[in-house]
């Protein structure tokens, strides 16, 4: 009983249960869900969101919010296209440079949100427009196709029969999890989000930590941008329009608190998967687009609800089997 209660209290359970429920419902509705090809499609579709959600999780954990990753992604795809196609730079160099661009975008977000003392919501709301505007500027508003033949295998290649993006996502999430759980800066992120003034008094450099979270978010958006460019072999100022909100939704469904200090990487991945599985299911069932938004919104609320209520569910469960003893 004690083990079950402890499991129920762990933070991944809520979203995991929701994911299993959703997957069960969809696979009952259509046998095509559990086919290898379909699962492969899901992992391709979720890759970009999943990678960008890593950055979203880090920022949300510090108590901030980042609305701009979608625009960073657009800017990254356009810049990569221009550098490689128009200026003929080798692909690895282009990728390295746009990753640097992502870091700079994150740094700007972080600088004004910390030392600049402007709330991150406002800063990233502004950069959401500014970065996408820059993307429009450098491309004159038109997408650039066929960036490079070397780009395609980065996304569509397979290792042991499994698409490469699957490995990218798993690998990055492992790095992210280890960073948060087992490194000093990672612990600092949880501390700053949990109680900023207490964290400051224990000697943690609060501004530096929050700035770092934004820089890493910029980097993860850039990696997402490279993935997107490889998926579509093109760069466009219109790409990634929903990524900001989707990444925040993934983190929140995964149990991250917008107040900061609560949440973890694996749970965010589960959150991103829930959204992807629901969308996939609706597509397989040829549900009209109008229903897709309604279903998606309901799923988000339900998933967060299960997460919020699980501690009361766990407590009720333990009371049924155990008399509560006096302290």
């Amino acid at each position: 009983m004690k083990l079950i209660a402890k499991f129920l209290r762990s933070t991944v359970v809520g979203p995991l249960v929701a994911l299993l429920l959703v997957a069960a419902v969809v696979s009952l509705a259509t046998p095509r869900f559990f086919q290898a090809q379909n699962l492969s499609n899901i992992s391709l579709q979720v890759a970009t969101v999943a990678v960008v959600s890593i950055g979203a999780t880090l920022v949300i954990l510090t108590g901030g919010i980042d609305l701009s990753p979608g625009s960073t992604v657009a800017l990254v795809t356009c810049t990569l296209a221009i550098l490689v196609k128009n200026y003929g730079l080798p692909l690895p160099v282009g990728i390295a440079l746009v990753l640097l661009l992502g870091i700079v975008c994150g740094f700007i977000n972080g600088f004004f949100s910390t030392y600049g003392k402007i709330p991150s919501f406002i800063v990233t709301l502004a950069t959401m427009s500014i970065y996408r505007g820059l993307a429009f500027l450098i491309t004159n508003g038109t997408p650039i196709f066929s960036i490079s033949p070397q780009l395609d295998p980065l996304f569509y290649g397979k290792l042991l029969g499994i698409p490469l993006p699957f490995y990218y996502v798993i690998g990055l999430y492992i790095v992210g999890t280890v960073f948060l759980r087992n490194t000093i800066p990672g612990r600092g992120i949880y501390a700053v989000g949990g109680n900023e003034s207490a964290a400051r008094l224990t000697g943690i450099r609060v501004n530096r930590t929050r700035l770092m979270a934004f820089v890493l978010a910029g980097l993860s958006a850039a990696i997402g941008g490279v993935l997107l460019a490889a998926w579509l072999d093109s760069g466009s100022p219109n790409y990634g329009a929903n990524l900001g909100l989707q990444s925040i939704a993934a983190a929140v469904i995964g149990g991250a608190s917008l107040m900061g200090g609560v949440g973890n990487m694996i749970a965010t991945l589960v959150g991103a998967l829930i959204v992807a599985v629901v969308q996939n299911g609706l597509n397989l069932l040829a549900v009209p687009a109008s229903w897709q938004d309604i279903t998606l919104g309901s799923v988000i609320v339900l998933a967060v609800g299960v997460d919020m209520w699980r501690s009361s569910i766990g407590y009720a469960f333990s009371r049924l089997f155990r008399r509560t003893r006096a302290k």
Partner: protein, 518 residues
């Protein structure tokens, strides 16, 4: 007719009357803890009923049940012999129960006036809020408390003491027959506490009953007519004040006999730990100079707002230094932030442990290791297993409930939370520890443990700067005491050479010529 006389000499008749409020066998449980177990109590009109017990004994929970915040699982409450149930705090207020909460129930971003009338703003005939009436009512009640603040001042900008007085004002301004006060003097200095005692006497004359919950046993024994003692959620005793002695009370609370004097060990060494010279900051510290020796407890005494905490902030790197110097173990230091101070071996136990001390998203081990995470590194990574072991070590050493290892420290009592914060600085091997009101709002058992820890620290050559509004505690536990007023140090004396009376005299500006009281 029987008369009862409480310590302050008031004579109050106990007429053979019925109690106005009756609590019968109330029980309340929270996940993992039975906070109240079949507790019964009677309250008579015009009585001051003290409610005491250790942290975790159920005092605040009982108060919150009466205030409508919690709904008990079993038991009944009677008002004037009629059963009554409160589903929410508003119902309790309507029935005439006003509450002053230990943690305050103020909205920081609203003004004093807006807070006092929160939820019951008087309306004009057109249905809009009558701000004139609000302002008038606020000034009236602030006058009653002799509180000199602007009714339009935003609560966030007030000192903790002023906020506590606003919280009290809020409760007094409600029409009530039962006033529950939970630690009303926790943040108040001696002068304000005196005012409050007088106010309580005035209020009871009109038949208002008061439940007075406090860790300051001397206050309770002074003002209460009868006292109820709770332990571990159970009722222990209800006795009239005349039948109570401090020693018995404490024994009933913690089940153990204690000595009445403070357990101070003299561990000060001649070597100098901290040297502060002509220090001034942009936060009202004016030309302060003092030294702290290795193994010494250096007390900072003063009234509220005297600048004690500001001196601590200056040393800890929180405020900008405009003049003067600080030397730590002979080396000049310039801390730009607490991070620098912590690296140099300084630590701080802050005044407000929930706002600035504990991280509620962490359990005890993570709260303890936070200042010295490097110690947990095995290769490039933190060892969570080692962290767990560190947590177990300190939990055992400092008598913290084992549940703290797995649950957020939010669920610990105030005293245990404080021990976790102190454990943090033990683990970080701080050489100088600033403790700002370390025993505020915690029970005697935990206080004794804090004193024990202070002795342990000084025995190991660690110095302590102790800020406390509990003057007997400060004088007893400090090797030397500096009296602070208006950001300046007036004098520095050996702790044992000064009486509380003299200290108050100097700190409040009545001069050191005040006669000593034995």
């Amino acid at each position: 007719m029987e008369m009862i006389v409480n310590r302050s000499g008031d004579r109050r008749p106990i007429p053979p009357q019925k109690p106005s409020w009756e609590i019968k066998e109330i029980s309340k449980a929270f996940p993992g803890v039975q906070a109240l177990d079949c507790v019964s109590m009677e309250i008579f009109p015009g009585e001051v009923h003290g409610l005491i017990g250790e942290n975790g004994s159920g005092k605040s929970t009982l108060a919150k049940c009466l205030a409508g915040v919690h709904q008990p699982e079993s038991g009944e409450v009677f008002f004037q012999n009629k059963p009554i149930v409160f589903h929410n705090p508003m119902e309790a207020k309507i029935a005439g129960v006003a509450t002053i909460y230990q943690e305050f129930s103020l909205v920081a971003t609203l003004t004093v006036a807006e807070n006092i009338f929160l939820g019951r703003y008087p309306r004009t005939s057109s249905g809009m809020i009558d701000w004139e009436a609000v302002h008038e009512g606020t000034c009236q009640v602030l006058d009653q408390l002799s509180l000199n603040i602007d009714s339009g001042a935003v609560v966030k900008g007030l000192s903790v003491a002023e906020q506590q007085l606003v919280e009290i004002a809020k409760a007094i301004s409600i029409e009530s027959n039962l006033l529950i006060m939970d630690e009303p003097t926790a943040a108040l200095g001696v002068v304000e506490s005196r005012h409050l005692m007088e106010l309580i006497r005035r209020l009871t004359k009109s038949g208002k009953a008061i439940i007075y919950i406090s860790h300051r046993l001397d206050e309770v024994l002074e003002i209460a007519d009868r006292v109820t003692i709770l332990k571990d959620g159970k009722w222990v005793a209800t006795l009239p004040i005349t039948e109570l002695k401090m020693k018995d009370v404490v024994r009933m609370m913690i089940g153990v006999d204690i000595e009445e004097h403070y357990p101070k060990e003299m561990n000060a060494q001649p070597a100098v730990c901290l040297e502060v010279k002509n220090l001034s900051t942009d936060n009202d510290v004016r030309n302060v100079s003092f030294t702290v020796n290795v193994g010494e407890v250096f007390g900072l005494a003063g009234m509220l707002g005297s600048g004690r905490t500001e001196i601590a902030r200056a040393i800890y790197g929180l405020d900008k230094i405009t003049a003067g110097s600080i030397h730590l173990y002979g080396r000049p230091v310039k801390f730009q932030s607490p991070s620098d101070a912590v690296t140099a071996g300084v630590g701080m136990v802050p005044e407000n442990r929930t706002a600035d001390g504990c991280l509620f998203n962490f359990e005890a081990p993570q709260n303890i290791t936070l200042s010295r995470l490097k110690e947990l590194l095995r290769g490039p990574f933190l060892s969570l297993a080692f962290e767990r072991k560190v947590g177990e070590d300190y939990v055992r050493r400092m008598n913290i409930p084992a549940g703290a290892l797995e649950k957020s420290v939010r669920f610990l009592s105030g005293g245990n939370q404080q021990k976790v914060i102190i454990a943090r600085w033990l683990f970080s091997q701080a050489r100088l520890l600033i403790m700002d009101e370390p025993t505020q709002g915690i029970d005697i058992g935990a206080k004794l443990e804090v004193y024990k820890v202070i002795n342990e620290l000084t025995a190991n050559g660690i110095s302590v700067i102790l800020i406390s509004s509990d003057f007997p505690e400060l004088l007893a536990m400090s090797d030397r005491v500096a009296v602070v007023r208006d950001g300046r140090i007036l004098q520095i004396t050996k702790g044992q050479r000064m009486t509380e009376y003299q200290l108050i005299g100097i700190a409040s500006g009545m001069g050191s010529n005040a006669e000593a009281e034995s």
